[in-house]
Symmetry: C2
Subunit: 353 residues, 2 copies
């Protein structure tokens, strides 16, 4: 604790991201990265962007990228906000739409960055307790609040909420912003992007980190009616005018445009996921039904914390959260078939040891 720190610096408990190990090569199933490389068109575009123009500032409004995303989703260019990864988009959204002192709601088991953003900006929050099977009690979100955040599919559970339930939440909270964090939507979930025209209070947040294999390039975006996007731009332009660099913007455009490649990778991951679920079920794991590029699972007898440690020793990294209600679960990213076969093999070794 330093005397130079502000009050919020002293009190905040920062987010801890999944390990990025440097000690050795792991089968890395701990940060929900895509096992497949970005589209070859993306890599080609980055090479072409390595030129003298990098001496110039980027377009602060990311017009070309916004237009590309707008076209992809059949929205208006003014309904798109771009940020330096969906984490930044979320952080700016909390500040743009939620007031200090008011109480927002999100699930008790969800992305563990949400409470950190809330604390950073002195926004109160209420945790909506998920059911035993980790599904959402819709009624919990039908109470007075200062805003709602729901990841769909939820992380780390992988569970999806149906569109009808989301509509119910949007209808009830018509005077408050409802953020649907669709970071993992492309692996089998149903997006609510097409509800945007109906609901001025709906903000959908997505990312290129997962389904577009671009975690290394940091581009996320928010979709919503123009007044919400205007608000985000006001806050962004009071924080950092140029959040997206020239190379990232160019890479992102190509990633969105190469829909065929993206669909192919996402389909492969979904297929692998279903095979892994089947194999784990046969090994006495309970797997929460997942529409994400990860699964959340507990073995009937083998403690998750031990399984986590032993997998690590065997060169497989998965994610373990030592938190109430989920401390017997592991979150396992879906890698390539080869990686997942290796993972299953190691799991068998450990539980049969």
């Amino acid at each position: 604790m330093s005397k130079y720190w502000s009050e919020v610096t002293r009190s905040i408990e920062p987010y801890v991201c999944g390990e990025q190990p440097k000690d050795k090569k792991y089968v890395k199933l701990n940060t929900n990265e895509n096992p497949y490389p970005p589209s070859p068109k993306v890599l080609e575009a980055i090479k072409n962007a390595a030129n003298g123009d990098l001496r110039l500032y980027p377009d602060p409004n990311c017009d070309k990228l916004s237009e590309t995303i707008a076209e992809y989703y059949d929205l208006d260019r003014k309904q798109i906000f771009i940020g330096n990864g969906s984490d930044e988009v979320l952080a700016l959204s909390f500040l743009t739409f939620f007031n200090p002192g008011e109480t927002i709601i999100f699930p008790d088991i969800s992305y563990s960055f949400y409470p950190v953003y809330a604390d950073l900006y002195k926004i109160n929050y209420k945790l909506a307790k998920l059911k035993e099977n980790f599904s959402i009690f819709v009624d919990d979100f039908l109470t007075e609040n200062g805003g709602v955040v729901i990841p769909n599919p939820n992380a780390p559970t992988g569970r999806c909420l149906d569109v009808a339930s989301i509509k119910k939440i949007l209808d009830y909270n018509s005077n408050k912003v409802v953020i649907i964090d669709e970071a993992y939507i492309d692996f089998g979930g149903v997006s609510v992007v097409n509800l945007i025209k109906e609901y001025p209070n709906l903000l959908v947040i997505q990312t290129l980190s997962k389904s577009r294999s671009l975690a290394g390039i940091r581009v996320g975006f928010a979709l919503g009616q123009e007044e919400l996007i205007d608000g985000l731009n006001r806050i962004k332009n009071s924080f950092n005018s140029y959040t997206i660099d020239r190379v990232a913007a160019i890479a992102a455009v190509e990633a969105i445009k190469d829909e065929e490649y993206f669909r192919e990778c996402a389909s492969k991951i979904i297929k692998t996921r279903e095979e892994v679920v089947e194999k784990l079920t046969l090994l006495d794991f309970n797997v929460i039904p997942s529409k994400a590029n990860f699964i959340f699972t507990a073995h009937s007898t083998y403690p998750a914390s031990e399984l986590f440690t032993r997998l690590r020793e065997k060169g497989v990294l998965v994610r373990y959260f030592n938190k109430n209600r989920i401390n017997n679960y592991l979150r396992i990213t879906i890698g390539s078939d080869e990686e997942m076969n290796y993972f299953i093999e190691k799991v068998k070794e450990i539980i049969n040891d």
Copy 2:
């Protein structure tokens, strides 16, 4: 104004950055970009970074880049904080070190983003009025305050503050953080980086946007004792874990390492600047002594606002601030010799018209 906006979104007046025109090709002397391309080694490194690893998250701590900067400045790796451009580093610094309700001090004529950051976080500020010649009254900073921010060289004036004066300010404010924003330090100013070991309250902020010709890649950094850097990391990790993408980090490492190329470009700009100052002086301009890659100047009779407009018509963009005390000045970025000759020629045409 939307009912969905938070109180701060409603009240904030966002920063407006220099125009990035798309209508036609200009001689662009309005955003202090470097006229020379980035080092060829930077461009080569970016090309090599366009590979499958972009599917993976970057190193959230930017270890390699921090080590490279530490080595360059003979500091410890733990004395380096990296951000998505120095604007982000500044924004995070305001939140990390300054408290809402307390009053920080910065010059009345300085980087116009400072009051925006302060407003964003509800930090009060007092403007230290520069002298008529735009130099700083040191005594203004020797009063009780919640922190100090001084750009050195100052922007948009280009004036440098001497090291002895900065030491006086650091000594007086030993319990508060003093931020020296050295965005433009490499064009002839004297950095206070070597005061860091003596002053636990000193935070120096620099950028790769100007002297390293990398405005398009968004990398800035802060240098200070470990407890200040720890504080910045606490806030960064409560906002966005991965602010620097893989490509930017790799490009930045090469930019710092290619010191010879950087020195050569900076020297050329300084030489051009001095020639431009001489020519403008002969044309009856008052030019504030500059240690930056821009100059701040007023003509003895020709109004700056008109000169700005007429230069624009002739394809030359410079920066005009329609603000009290400086609304008869233009800020002109130092471009290549060719660009500056064109600029001088157009100025002559206009004032002799």
